[in-house]
Symmetry: C2
Subunit: 357 residues, 2 copies
DNA sequence: GGAACCGATGTGCACGGTCACATCGAAGCT
DNA sequence: AGCTTCGATGTGACCGTGCACATCGGTTCC
């Protein structure tokens, strides 16, 4: 459409060069901010680009430099609030650094599904990888077929073959549990995440540590699937025997589902049973009762992952990462343990209503 | 590392060709499933690829074919459940079709922010665009600087310059409102989404239609920002005058925040005030009371967007899209309107508890 | 039995950039 | 004055793949 454009093809640096009456190499230099270009020449080239509506061809550049300027994100459950938030932050941060992001979601949890997603990313010639699919198995697959590019995981694995952004979930979980213990609870149930998940394990460890420190009886944690539905059904089951006074759920969804079950049984949170979640999803403070939980900054985590990864990609020294400790947020779902355990009393009071927004 | 690999460079089709004792073109043909290749030759080539761990270079291929095999997603609020779910579905579907997805989040709502994100995608040479950033302004920007590739939007705009996946939100909202009207509510407040949003407008229109059909008094809708926090604060404000008995919120988060405010004022849902949301996010059925809302299938929407877009990209005839009507899910947050409007009575009963999981 | 055709494969170039090296005039140094 | 250095620019090759066209042996057809 543009009269200057020679063929039906998009304009290339040679078209720009012709119009600006310079060599194609000079155009290339302008593109790459080469120092030794006369300001006047640069202006002329830029004007020609503007006229032709020139856009550099990323494929051509990638071909010759063998740099794709793309980072991969290997994700699972990207629908959940936490991962989704981190992914969005990763994309923003990457764009800021002039990078593109390619996400592959793990379809199922099989090793094959993981390998498929990884293969998809490798075909894209990614320069680095952010792993936000925090199942132990993912790292096994990664170890079995090395990607050959630096990678960062958003969860701490304890392995040393890559960098991990250590949000100290163990301490977060420990603090949540200690909060319950401080309130006088002695029988505490842990609704954990799935077996294979690193975060689930870390949170469980924090729970176990706190229980051990306080020398309390240990009930084996219930392994869940992070969903509110699971929290609900687990609650229905658990509440058949009222032999506990508090629950620490490994995420807010399960906590919310559990609270639903408590109400269905005609019991009260926190009057009869205190509940703590993990993550502080946006609705956590608006459910009834407002959920005591552990806050972690998913955006910041994503941002830092990109910074860390790009450092590695550019071959810079990677500094030791300081641990971020998530913060306990006390709301209305926790209260002092009922003094007398009355198994039949379903109409316990509702003390300690400290709802806040 | 591999003895066959000539230099430090990754193997190319010529390396494969040399090993298989064919020409590079034959290798290319094997890659592209050209019909006239002898099975025996194909085998030999495939074996050579395997030996060399050959991976096609996407950049080179994109350069010569000028096809990037990438689709762009222009998104905003990709952190919310709905968009996040659709994006994940888009990525899965695209991968299934051998396509890559590049997402750009709109940083702020300014025209500049939108143009930036779009520019980012265009530099990537996307073949098609899915718009999941349902603000009217986005379409203005798109109209001002045409992208030159087919695009599909996940929300109906009424414009005819592109395809829109019409989930019929107007009807969904109308049904939600009618549900309240059928329960005897006469004063209904609408917590709407932000001004600029297509979905917000559609849902508001459905609300207005239903109110108009029933010949009820119209209260101007309150424009919110989709957040639970907003729902809460709007509720605190609205409830200073109890001149309504039901609320239709444009999404579940605002509904949940509003219900929080109702409780804070010592009132009861649905005894004093019925609440309907929109979206059916996973926790909606587990909050108290379980939220009556309108379900829409975000995964399916994303999947269909990709199918539609790729049809266009491949120049196929694009069939008219049938409208999907979202489904009303009745739960415990709605009940018959209180017969007598007792302004001071804060302890209304809790009829119609039909909680279900 | 020779022309036309077809299946299977090879040859060379083009895609749009960047890199290494060449060129060339002006300025600096001895 | 002659040599070196440097800034500003040009020339040609190359990255890995696909396309257009050429080649070549074997059938088919009249």
């Amino acid at each position: 459409m543009n009269p200057e454009t020679p063929k039906g093809r998009a304009p290339s640096i040679r078209d720009v060069a012709r119009l600006a009456e310079v060599s194609h190499q000079t155009v290339s230099r302008v593109l790459n901010d080469h120092p030794s270009i006369r300001p006047e020449t640069r202006e002329r080239v830029l004007a020609a680009m503007e006229t032709l509506q020139y856009r550099p061809n990323r494929a051509a550049r990638a071909l010759v430099t063998s740099r794709s300027h793309t980072i991969g994100v290997l994700a699972s459950t990207s629908t959940e609030y936490g991962p989704a938030t981190s992914i969005a932050a990763i994309e923003d941060a990457a764009r800021e650094h002039g990078y593109y992001v390619n996400t592959a979601n793990i379809a199922d949890q099989s090793a094959e599904g993981i390998a498929d997603a990884l293969e998809h990313l490798m075909l894209q010639a990614i320069e680095g990888l952010v792993v936000i699919a925090p199942q132990v198995r993912v790292f096994e697959v990664l170890a079995a077929s090395p990607v050959g590019v630096p990678f960062v995981s958003l969860q701490s694995t304890g392995r040393s073959d890559h960098l991990a952004l250590s949000v100290d979930q163990v301490t977060g979980a420990r603090r949540a549990t200690q909060h319950l213990i401080n309130l006088g609870h002695r029988q505490i149930v842990h609704l954990a995440g799935p077996q294979d998940w690193i975060e689930a394990e870390a949170r469980m460890r924090g729970f176990l540590d706190a229980i051990g420190d306080a020398d309390l009886d240990l009930r084996p944690p219930i392994l869940g699937d992070w969903s509110a539905d699971f929290g609900y059904f687990a609650g229905r089951e658990l509440l058949r025997h009222r032999d506990f006074t508090a629950v620490f759920a490994a995420n807010d969804q399960m906590a919310i589902g559990f609270m639903h079950a408590v109400r269905d049984m005609g019991l009260d949170v926190p009057g009869d049973i205190s509940v703590v979640g993990f993550d502080d999803i946006p609705v956590a403070q608006h459910v009834w009762p407002p959920l005591t939980t552990v806050y972690q900054d998913y955006r910041e985590t994503g941002r830092r992952a990109v910074a860390l990864l790009l450092n590695q990609v550019h071959g810079e020294r990677v500094l030791e990462v300081e641990q971020v400790v998530p913060r306990l947020v006390v709301r209305g779902s926790t209260a002092e343990a009922p003094v007398v355990r009355a198994a039949g009393d379903a109409t316990g009071g509702a003390p300690g209503r400290r709802s806040r927004v």
